[in-house]
Structures are given as C-alpha cells and as structure tokens.
C-alpha cells in the first residue's frame, strides 16, 4: 500500500507549526480587510474635513468698518451738483486714505507703493458701488435718450458716514491682523450667503437663486418622472403581455440605468433645446433632463414595491368583483406607495447632486435674480458649486464653494433621512 501522507505530518510539532502558520495567514487576510476599510474611512474623513474646514470659513465673512468722508472737493470738484458727474467718481479712493493713516503708510511716493497695493487688495469689488449708491442711484433708463435716470442716494456730500465694506483675501493679506487689532476689521456671519444670488464678487455671493432653481428643477423632475415611472411600473408588473415589445421595454430600462449622465445632457441639449425649441438654462429643461436619469430608478423601485404587496390583497379585491385595474388602483398601489415614494426620494436625491448634464443645457448661472417660475434661467446648487470653483477669488473658489456643498449635503441628508424613515416605518407595520 502506498503511503500518501507525508511522514512529517505525523510529527505533532510540525502540525502545530503548520496550524499556527495558517491561522496567521488568516489574521493577515483579516488585517487587509481592516486596512481597506481604513482607507475608505480616511478618504471620507479627508473629504469631510476639507468641506467643513473650508465651508465654515465661507459662512463667516470679514468686514472693514471705516468712517468715510464724502469729500465734495473730490467727488464734485466744480460744485456742479450734477449727479451724472458724481457718478463717475471712483468711490474706492475715499476708503484707502483712512486705512493708510491707520496703518502708518505714506499715501504718496514710491517707497510704500507695494504696501498700498496690499491695502487696496483688501477692499471688495462691490465697495465702490456700495458707496456710490449712497450718493447717487440709478433707477432706470430714459426710454428716448437711453440716458440713465439718477436720483440722490440720501447721503449728502460733506457728510461723514461709518460704512461696512466686504474685505477680500484676508487670509493671505499681511495687514489683516493689524487692522483687526485696531478695530477696523471684524468677522461676522455671512448673511448674504443665504439671501443673495450668485455673483462674481465673494462679498455678495449667495445661493438663494440656486436653492430656488434646484427646487424648481426637482419639482419638474418629479412631475415628469413620478407619474410616468409609476404607470410604467404598474404596466410592466401587472398588465403587460409577455411579448417582444415588453421585453424590448425592459431591456431599454435596464440600459438607461447605466447610460452615463453626460450622454443624457447631450441628448437633452439636442432634443429639448434644438429640436423642441425650449428655453435653455431653465429649470424646465433641467428638470426634464434629470427626469431621464430618475425614471429608471423610480420604475425599478416601484416594481419592487408592487411585487412585495401580498397577493391576498389583490385576490380579496378580485373576489369582491373588482376588475384587475380596480384592484390595482384601490388596493395594491396604495399599499405599495411607501416603497415607491422611498425610491422616488432616492432618485430625486441623486438628481439634486447631478451637475454634468445641466451644464450643456445652459444652466451655468450667468443669470442673476431669483427664478420665479420654472421658465426662468437659473443655476442649481450643484452647478453653483462648479461655477464658484471657476472663480478667480480664493474666497469664492475655496470657501464659498464648500459652503454651498454643506447646504447641498444637508439637503441630501434630509432627503435620504426621509427615505430611510419611510422605509423603517413601512417595515415596522
């Protein structure tokens, strides 16, 4: 008889050593698993850290408080009293001397030129406008001559007024600390962020238009994809005959779920804007494009929800003389609703964060003002993040973009939380 067992295996010490080696190998394998989780966790932590640390800074803004003297000698040197003349004045120049004096910088001459440039960089883009509006304000355009119609802004020449101006790039400016200690510069909550609309000026940048735009977009997306998705799911799950057309529809739905979102953007730009002539950059087109993305999600969720309704519901209704459709509309669909709504909310949450397809249909946020209807041009929150990223200003590019992300993530958490709660409640009952 052939001895197939290695004689070494009979040795107890050798066996013990082998077992130990195998156990250690298992432990190493397990350690790789922990390491993988740690990598995922670390990346998430880095991502959240980056968002929160930058985003919170965007929620605070630095303001410079100075007493401005509206010097008649400078603003209206010939004492003409003409508002059009005063309007041409560069009001920034009223602020600089005050700061030069505070910082002990010579207002003239070569020696302090660099220092003066640094101080000028601190004052926000909108400061000149803000001061001009106090003296002279444009209320419209003359229809005949096309001249601006000007009225007095309420402040008279020669007055001394304390004004608050936005400060830019304070993190990298050498005078920030000194001005803060002298009381010229203070930090406060950035209220404009929630009440303002998108702007190139970090001092005035806000997300209200993007929020409203996202709301309209999601509303259009919901109205377009929910009824279609639910009806399609009911049909495919309950009434569709088994034939080629039905199979083809099912294949299409599965494929649509995997098409890259950028392709939907291409198709949306061509079909909705070029062929159908819809207005580009509006929540209407944006919502329709996003509904193409949410539709497969809703159909799949709705079919699963309908399938999970106990057959006894249907049978009871049919037994009482209801038609198959009556059983569906009055008994099966209402019981499936929590599942359908959960799936819809998850689909809408995905649509809320979608950016790429919206860029091609013109939702780039060049429009200003709050969109009052879905037919107004508007950015969405996610597009707003991308637009802010394109800014030349550090505050907008690094900080306010991340603040917008915080708002976006909070909304996503609310949506997903609602979905999770609905699922929990329907599972309990």
């Amino acid at each position: 008889m052939v001895q197939i067992i290695d004689p070494k295996l009979k040795d107890a010490d050798y066996q013990r050593a082998m077992t130990l080696r195998r156990r250690n190998k298992g432990k190493r394998f397990q350690a790789w698993g922990i390491a993988a989780l740690a990598v995922a966790g670390l990346m998430l932590a880095a991502l959240l850290y980056s968002i929160v640390s930058n985003g919170v800074r965007g929620l605070m803004e630095d303001r410079i408080t100075v007493e401005v003297y509206f010097d008649p000698e400078k603003i209206d040197p010939r004492d003409s009293g003409d508002l059009a003349v005063m309007r041409m004045f560069n009001f920034d120049t009223l602020v600089y001397p005050v700061l030069y004096e505070a910082l002990d910088i010579k207002a003239r001459g070569r020696s302090d030129r660099d220092k003066r440039r640094k101080v000028k960089q601190l004052i926000g883009l909108g400061a000149s406008n803000q001061l001009r509006e106090m003296i002279v304000r444009q209320v419209g355009v003359d229809p005949v001559t096309e001249d601006p119609i000007l009225v007095s802004g309420g402040t008279q020449l020669g007055e001394r007024v304390t004004v608050e101006l936005t400060a830019l790039s304070t993190a990298s400016n050498p005078y920030t600390q000194t001005l803060r200690e002298l009381g010229y510069l203070n930090t406060r909550f950035n209220g404009d962020f929630f009440t303002g609309v998108n702007s190139n000026d970090p001092g005035y940048y806000g997300i209200l238009d993007a929020l409203v735009g996202s709301f309209w977009t999601l509303l259009v997306c919901f109205l377009a994809s929910f009824p279609v998705g639910v009806l399609a799911a009911v049909y495919l799950e309950e009434f569709a005959p088994r034939n080629l057309i039905t199979d083809f529809i099912e294949v299409n739905i599965n494929n649509l779920a995997a098409v890259p979102s950028i392709v939907f953007g291409l198709m949306g730009a061509f079909v909705f804007i070029y062929v159908f002539g819809m207005p580009g950059g509006t929540a209407l087109v944006g919502g329709l494009v996003l509904s193409l993305l949410t539709l497969p999600t809703i159909i799949v969720a709705a079919r699963a929800a309908i399938r999970s309704v106990p057959g006894s519901y249907r049978e009871a209704a049919l037994g009482l003389g209801a038609s198959r459709q009556q059983a569906m509309w009055s008994f099966v669909l209402p019981s499936a609703m929590p599942g359908i709504i959960t799936g819809t909310i998850i689909g809408l949450a995905g649509a809320l964060g979608e950016t790429a397809p919206l860029l091609f249909i013109g939702m780039v946020g060049f429009q200003s003002g709050i969109p009052l209807t879905p037919l107004d041009g508007t950015p969405s929150l996610a597009v707003g993040v991308f637009n802010a990223f394109g800014s030349q200003f550090d505050e907008l590019k690094n900080q306010l973009s991340n603040s917008t992300i915080i708002v976006l993530l909070v909304l996503l958490m609310l949506l997903n939380g609602t979905a999770a709660y609905l699922r929990y409640r329907s599972e309990k009952s």
């Binding site: 980056s50 062929v275 497969p296 091609f360």
Partner: protein, 522 residues
C-alpha cells in the same frame, strides 16, 4: 395668450365632462327605473357612475391635449424646415454666416406686418419662404386653436351622446388606462431612440466633415479655441484624433480601479465575513455616505484639496530621493535608463518619437507635477467607486450557496482559506461583472475629471502628468454657445456616441457574465 385660455378651457371642459357624464348616466337610469318601476340590477348601469364621468373626461381631454403637445414640441422645427424647403438653391452655396443672416431676415419679415423683405433680399426668390412662414405663424397663433376647439366640441357631443346606461364605461376607461400605461412604459424606448438619434444625427454630420479614420487613429486632439475662427469661416481648423483621449481615459480609469477594486472587495469581504455588529454599524454608513456624495463634491475635493496634497507628497518624495544616501542610487538607476536609450539611438532607433540625438545624463532626479495630476483625479474617482464595487462584490459573495462555505469549513479550512480558495473563485464571475460595471461608470464619470484632470489632451501614461478624457472634452466642446451646425458641437456628439456604445457594451457584457454565473447554482 390663446394657449393659456385654451388650456383653461380644456381643463374646465374636462371637469365638466366628468360631472356631465356621471349625471347623464345616473339620470338616464333613474328615468328608466321610473318608467319601469323596477329596481333590479338588470336595468341599472353597466358600470359605476364615476366610470361614465371618467370616460367622458378622458375622451375630451386626451386627444386635444396630445395634439397641442405635439404641435408645441414640433412647431419650432417645422418653421426651420419650411424655410429650408422654400429657399432658392443658391443659398446652399452661401457660407454659414450668410445663411444664418438670410434666415433671420426671413423670420423678421414674416413676423412683421407687411411681410416684405427689405434690402438685398427684396425680390421674388425669398418671398416664398416668407409667405410659408407667415402661414405657419397664423396656424400657430390662431389656426391650431380653431382646430382644437372644433375637436373638443365634436368629442364632447360624441361623448355625451354615447353615455347610455348600457355603455360599458368601466371597460372603456380601463382601455384608455391601458394605453396610457403602455405609453408611460414606452417612454423608455422613446428616450433610447432619442439618445441614439440625436447622437447619430450630429455624429454623422461630423463624419461628413471629418474622416472617421482620422478620428479613430489620430494622435492629436486639438479642437481649437472657441474664438479662434470666425463664424462664417468653414470649420476645418480643429484636429480631432481620439487616441490621446482613449489613453487619458484609460490611465485615469486604471488608477481609479486600482484604488476601488482592492479597497471595495476587501471591505466587502471584511464586512460580510469578519466584522462584529459594532464595526458594521460604524462602517456601513461610511460606504453609504461615500455612495451618496455628489460627483461635483468629489471633483472640488480632487482639484482643490487632494491635488495640492499630492504635490506636497511628491515634493517630499523628491527630497527623499535626493538625500545624500539615496541620491547616488536613484541617479544610477535613472542614468541606466538613459544609457539604454542612448544605445538604442546609437543603433539607429528613436526614443518616444523624438529626433535621433543622444540624450543628456541626469545630474539630479526630480518627479515633476503640474497643476493637474492624473493620479489625483484617478484616486478620488476610485474613492467614489469604492462603495459601488463593495456592494456588487457583496452581492456576488452572498450568491455563493452556503453549502460551499459549510463544506470548506467542514473539511477543516480556516475562514480565510474558505474565503480565498472556495468562495472567491466561485464568486469571481459575479465580481468580474461588478468590476466591469464599475469601469463603465468610471468612463462615463464627468465632474471629477472636468475639475481635476487637464483640458489639454497629452498622449502620456505618466500618472503624475496631465491627461484629458472623453467627458472632459465633451464638456469643453459644449460649454458656452451651442451651435448645432458647428464642427465642435458635432465632435462632442461623436465622442458621445463613442462613449454611449462603450458603456453599453461593457454593461451588456457585465450582465451576461453575471447572469451566466447565476445559472450555475440555481
């Protein structure tokens, strides 16, 4: 104005139709009952009164609404087609800029009072297009509403006349419902057709202007700046060769996969096999959050945070490589490669396409990074795909029957041996399918690469270099003014169709693999 009015009337008539239908059915049956003084079901309604109302409402609402919708959707295109049909042939030879000018002049004339063309265009040739457009404008503003009103009236009369108690209203309503449901399901087909048609339509015009062979084999991608060419000039300035885009996409996808696959797979194994409930309660949300974060957020992180970190890391590595102890070793290795290259050149060959001249030897080794690093975009994209890979691997592992697991453990293997030698080989097709799905997702991913990868398409496999991808170029070509006749926009659609079919093929392949695998055990 008329549109709003008509919609209001339509809704009102629909509502009215519901009540009229219901009332008529009820009153008819009451009259019937009074006449016969009977109350048996035989003489009652054929359906619940509500169905009569519903049916009448459907009848008056659906046809006019569909007609209006189709008109509203296709009228803009119809106007373009009408102009094109009625233009004299000579216009076809004019430059693009002139054509646009002529068309806008015709549109302006058609919407003005007299409808006469002014200036150079006055005269017989273009007047035909103006009158055709004027006719269309009249239909659009008045004619269509007259037609719709007539249709509405006819349907209302027909519907009321046919609302008899014996009419099987439930059946009628359910037939309408079936069609509506079928239409909803068919939307999926419509969308696919829309995608394929729009991509094909634009891509074919692109390939008329640009050879498809040059497109597929060209090694230079340089579409030219947006303002480089005048509007009227024929667009021939751009060079569209997709090879650098293919290599760029490939590089980023390979980097992303080499992060996502090991991390995703090992996380799935650990969470499914080893983790205690406490660890799982902590780790599951990590995956869910990673999966729920929008791509634009990953993009911002990659561009503004991760790329600088990586640059700093590379700088530190440069410092390490140039430490006195290591410097001689790194220099030796680097210069060995240079020497090899020089031998090749000396023998008459060329090195990476450069002219055959001897290469200089290094005196210092330094890894260069620019403002865009492919590695950064790839790693962040990989992070985004981790949960996707993890959940698909988890599905594949779970699909392996427990008997295999029990058998392996029963034969005395450790848990890791059971995992590596039995479960993973059995689940491999499913995992491979999942990885293919993840690759298709990575190829189509846009925002991360738009924000963190380069816009210039270098032909390189250097992970520290800057590369561009399909999606970056689609975004670059389509952002701004959309000129659907222009070569640049058409080029975007040409890449789009490329992308569409690549992802479609990958998905089909992945699903086929997964399906075949499932059949083995069921």
């Amino acid at each position: 104005m008329l549109l709003t009015l008509f919609l209001a009337v339509l809704l009102l008539v629909t509502l009215l139709g519901y009540f009229v239908g219901q009332r008529r059915a009820l009153s008819a049956v009451r009259a019937d009952q009074a006449k016969r003084s009977l109350s048996t079901n035989n003489y009652g309604l054929a359906a619940l009164p509500g169905f009569y109302g519903q049916r009448l409402a459907y009848l008056v609402f659906i046809p006019p609404f569909l007609l209006l919708l189709l008109w509203w959707l296709f009228e803009p295109r119809l106007a373009d087609l009408l102009i094109h049909w009625n233009l004299p042939d000579a216009v076809a030879e004019a430059t693009r800029g002139e054509q646009v000018g002529i068309i806008s002049a015709i549109r302006e004339a058609a919407s003005s009072q007299g409808g006469a063309l002014s200036g150079d265009l006055a005269g017989g040739d273009y007047q035909a297009a103006v009158s055709a457009l004027q006719a269309l404008n009249w239909i659009n503003s008045t004619g269509i509403y007259l037609l719709l009103a007539a249709l509405l009236l006819v349907l209302l009369v027909l519907g009321i006349a046919s609302s008899k108690p014996t009419f099987r209203a439930r059946k009628a309503v359910e037939n309408w419902n079936r069609w509506v449901m079928f239409a909803a399901a068919a939307v999926a087909i419509l969308i696919t057709v829309g995608i394929v048609m729009s991509l094909l339509f634009q891509a074919l015009s692109f390939f008329q202007a640009y050879s498809w062979l040059d497109f597929l084999t060209g090694t230079r991608w340089s579409p030219g700046g947006a303002f480089q060419r005048g509007y009227g000039e024929e667009a021939t300035g751009g060079v569209f060769g997709v090879v650098p885009l293919i290599t760029g996409t490939l590089l980023i996808v390979v980097i992303a996969m080499s992060v996502a696959v090991p991390v995703g797979l090992m996380s799935a194994i650990y969470l499914g096999e080893y983790a205690s409930n406490r660890v799982r309660a902590f780790a599951k949300p990590i995956m869910e959050i990673l999966a729920g974060i929008p791509t634009v957020v990953y993009g911002l992180f990659a561009a503004l945070t991760f790329t600088p970190w990586l640059s700093a890391g590379v700088d530190a590595l440069n410092g390490l490589l140039n430490l006195p102890v290591l410097k001689s070793v790194t220099l030796l290795i680097a210069n060995l490669f240079v020497a090899l290259g020089n031998v090749v050149i000396w023998l008459g060959g060329t090195v990476s396409g450069s002219a055959p001249q001897l290469m200089a030897y290094f005196s210092e080794v330094r890894l260069e990074t620019g403002s865009d690093i492919a590695l950064a975009a790839g790693v962040v994209m990989g992070t985004m795909i981790i949960p996707f890979v993890a959940s698909l691997s988890d599905d594949a592992i779970r699909a392996v029957p427990d008997s295999l697991r029990d058998g392996a453990l029963g034969l005395g293997s450790t848990r890791s041996e059971m995992m590596r030698r039995v479960i993973l080989p059995a689940a491999l097709p499913g995992i491979a399918g999942g990885i293919l799905l993840a690759v298709s997702r990575a190829i189509g991913e846009t925002m991360i690469v738009v924000m963190a990868a380069g816009s210039f398409a270098y032909l390189t496999f250097n992970p520290l270099g800057s590369v561009s991808t399909f999606t970056v170029q689609i975004n670059a070509l389509l952002t701004g003014d959309l000129d659907f006749g222009g070569t640049k926009v058409q080029a975007a659609f040409a890449i789009g169709i490329f992308l569409f079919f690549i992802t479609l093929a990958l998905n089909t392949l992945a699903l086929a693999i997964v399906r075949r695998f499932r059949e083995e055990y069921d």
